[in-house]
């Protein structure tokens, strides 16, 4: 009997596969393709205190084995989420992570306090969005600043707190250690890499913001290395992501030390890609005689 259950901070995931923030909306559209209850969990689109329209101009640009995005946290705001989206999510029998972004510590705090009152299972604090002007990623670059933000949010937050790290952090291991010291219950990494593209005929950057966020299979080797390094440095659970497209990628992240994994860009390539990954993990475990995920976590 194989068992794909994973526990993080007292929350039990039926399997280690979570839909990544910003690539899965609030699940509604995917619910038309498969029962969301199959998933380990869903991380909501990044939420800000107030509704945001996001960025203008080109928002998605394809690169070699990746995409650059500059969505700019378009979202219905915390209250819109609680009113219009959460009731749907709650019915899906899967773990709900509310992904929270913001541009000031105060904004984070107020958002988190509102979410404390709901049935979400965890908060995933996004200190790393490259697509908003102030805050957002700035918090995710310097370990000291991250420490402050996380400490404050920790105090405000009654839910298990996952901090989502940016691969653009100056030193990913120090960053992880700072967030751990500041009270994070878990870490997820990585968010998108700062990248850019130029339209050579117009002689202009493709994106209005110039810099956008790179995701997809192209980033996998770097993301995997970061998960490996971080998992060796801290004792709290880690959710690994970055370019996971199939069960083999997922197993690599788990063997590098991740408790759970998230699937982001992959959802765009195939709406039911997570199901393939879940089934692939099960199949792999059977073939390799692995009874529980723990047996292979960090095994390398």
């Amino acid at each position: 009997m194989i068992n794909t259950k994973v526990e993080i901070c007292g929350v039990e995931f039926k399997n280690p596969v979570i839909a990544a923030s910003g690539t899965f909306g609030f699940g509604r559209e995917y619910a038309e393709y498969f029962p969301l209850s199959r998933l380990g969990g869903i991380s909501s689109k990044g939420l800000t205190l107030n509704k945001k329209d996001g960025n203008k101009g080109t928002r998605i640009y394809e690169t070699a084995s990746g995409i650059l995005n500059s969505i700019g946290l378009q979202n219905p705001g915390i209250e819109g989420f609680i009113k219009d989206e959460l009731p749907f999510m709650e019915k899906q029998d899967t773990i709900i992570l509310a992904n929270v972004g913001g541009s000031t510590i105060d904004e984070y705090m107020v958002s988190v306090e509102k979410l404390n009152e709901t049935n979400i299972d965890m908060i995933e604090l996004n200190i790393s969005c490259p697509n908003v002007k102030e805050g957002g990623m700035a918090f995710g670059i310097k370990s000291k600043i991250a420490y402050e933000v996380v400490s404050e949010v920790r105090n405000a937050c009654t839910k298990p707190l996952i901090v989502k790290l940016s691969p653009n952090a100056e030193n990913i291991v120090e960053m992880a250690e700072s967030c751990t010291k500041a009270g994070a219950d878990g870490l997820s990494l990585v968010n998108t890499f700062s990248g850019m593209a130029i339209d050579i005929y117009n002689r202009k950057p493709v994106f209005k913001n110039i810099i956008a966020g790179l995701s997809g299979p192209c980033i996998k080797p770097i993301a995997l290395r970061m998960v490996y390094e971080v998992s060796r440095a801290v004792d709290i659970p880690i959710i690994g992501l970055g370019g996971i497209m199939n069960y083999k990628d997922a197993i690599e992240f788990i063997m590098a030390g991740a408790h759970c994994i998230q699937v982001g860009t992959g959802n765009f390539i195939k709406p039911d890609i997570s199901i393939d990954i879940i089934e692939g993990i099960e199949q792999f475990m059977k073939e390799e005689g692995i009874e529980s995920i723990e047996e292979i976590r960090g095994v390398i």
Binding site: E32, Y33, G54, Y61, P271, D272
Partner: protein
């Protein structure tokens, strides 16, 4: 539950004008690539204005490409496409018997009232979804289509529509100039348009002036095609809307073109 990506097998893939191709596909039998299905129940579905996401490759390019339904009959789907970049180039090289992956039908599509007198205004490859619209519409309809310097699909159009108005920029067929030179909005109950943004913008303005309802089919770069990436969003008078989900057909009045 909706079906995810499924395989289509190519019946034909032919060039009909410079850089313009017509491809016909039927769904593959899930168990074997070489058996194609044409039965109604398993055939491709969708209404005019809806589109499919197409992949004729594995993971390079990473993203699928949105293409409008140009026709469906007996479960066989036809797309009309212009080779613009890598994706459409790869598709143009596929041969009879090759397969590609399709997700759809997606988007809202056109809604029509059979009693209306309508005008269809197309620019270039924007004609694709309007052909399907034209075939399904049995009411009174005029078709205005503009091309750059080579017209195509005219026979198909003339077969269905009595009143066709053609323009080419180089004058090789029909009026020399823009299709908007020919188009007069005042006579219609509704106008439907698809083509380059400047053209659609002009059509919308002309209709607004005459208080004629107009619907536009918008284009936008897409990643998911199903409403989750928010990559295809456009600004409208009622907020941000997703071309793939709330669109691609929008009321001309709500679209903010100047952006």
């Amino acid at each position: 539950m909706k079906q995810g990506y499924r395989k289509g097998i190519i019946h034909s893939n032919i060039q009909i004008a410079t850089n313009i191709y017509e491809i016909k596909l039927s769904p593959c039998h899930p168990e074997s690539d070489s058996i194609s299905l044409t039965m109604e129940e398993s055939g491709f579905q969708g209404k005019p204005g809806q589109f499919y996401m197409l992949r004729g490759w594995e993971l390079d390019p990473l993203l699928p490409r949105p293409i409008s339904i140009c026709d469906i009959s007996d479960g066989i789907i036809t797309f009309l496409y212009e080779v613009r970049g890598r994706g459409t180039h790869i598709i143009s090289k596929l041969k009879k018997g090759d397969t590609l992956e399709l997700l759809g039908p997606l988007g809202n599509g056109f809604d029509l009232n059979i009693e209306d007198k309508i005008a269809i205004v197309s620019g270039g490859i924007g004609v694709a979804p309007l052909i399907y619209l034209m075939k399904g519409f049995k009411g009174d309809m005029d078709f205005y289509c503009g091309f750059r310097n080579e017209a195509y699909y005219l026979d198909e159009i003339r077969e269905h529509v009595d009143n066709t108005h053609i323009s080419t920029e180089d004058g090789s067929v029909g009026h020399r100039g823009f299709v908007t030179d020919l188009f007069l909005p005042k006579r219609y109950d509704m106008v439907l348009t698809c083509g380059p943004i400047p053209m659609m913008n002009r059509v919308v303005e002309m209709c607004k002036d005459k208080n004629v309802p107009v619907y536009v089919s918008m284009e936008s770069r897409m990643a998911c095609g199903i409403g989750t990436c928010l990559g295809c969003t456009i600004e409208t008078t009622s907020g941000m809307k997703r071309v793939c989900k709330e669109g691609p057909v929008f009321s001309g009045e709500e679209v903010k073109f100047n952006d």
